[in-house]
Symmetry: C2
Subunit: 126 residues, 2 copies
């Protein structure tokens, strides 16, 4: 991947930050057709969970004692610590995790409203 | 897309058929760490929803009258009909849609157990 492509990825961040602070859309998929804007927002969230290692890390944070975890807690997934950090940052950029730096480590927790919105969107019972 | 690539996509089908007939894993992500095998299975499903056009098409099928739709019903998403068919096939291969050919058209409906499993996995209330 060229440097210019790396820069392109970074440009996406402001939107991702916005996703963290606002409860995202949407009504259940059975309720009607998603708008273009809502589909783009939700597709980015599903994309964050579309990598097996990232999904495992997400489950490790979500199920960790106290509801939060740092890289130091969850690095046993068969990839390097920088790769773990990279995946956690992607989950944060997509709005699925929030983070807080304390001392040396950044602690991650699940963003409940965002994950609940994804779950509700796929809930066919309603 | 070349013919050889089309053939490659077809090879994926046996696994996809299995995904359709079996309710997939998993417990809520807060319940514990996903296994490698479960993470791979679920990541593939989330990947199917990680494209905005595919997600819109999925919502169109899910919300269509009678709970099913063919390409002829849902082609107004700004891409060509072959592209719509390609996206619907990807959703089917991932186990999120089932299909039935009737006459000229293939009709797609949501695979309720698969989508419910994705929703349940992201349900933080339990």
């Amino acid at each position: 991947m060229s440097n210019s492509q790396m820069v392109e990825l970074t440009v996406v961040e402001p939107d991702a930050q916005a996703a963290e602070s606002v409860v995202p859309c949407c009504p259940p998929i059975t309720a009607g057709e998603l708008s273009v804007a809502d589909a783009e927002k939700m597709a980015a969230m599903f994309k964050a969970l579309s990598d097996p290692v990232r999904l495992r890390l997400f489950s490790k944070v979500a199920s960790h004692a106290g509801g939060e975890a740092c890289v130091c807690d969850i690095s046993d997934v068969g990839v390097s610590q920088p790769t773990v950090s990279h995946h956690l940052k992607k989950l944060k950029d997509a709005g699925l995790l929030t983070s807080e730096r304390r001392g040396t480590w950044v602690y991650y927790s699940v963003a409940p409203s965002v994950v609940a919105a994804m779950s509700a969107m796929l809930d066919l019972r309603g």
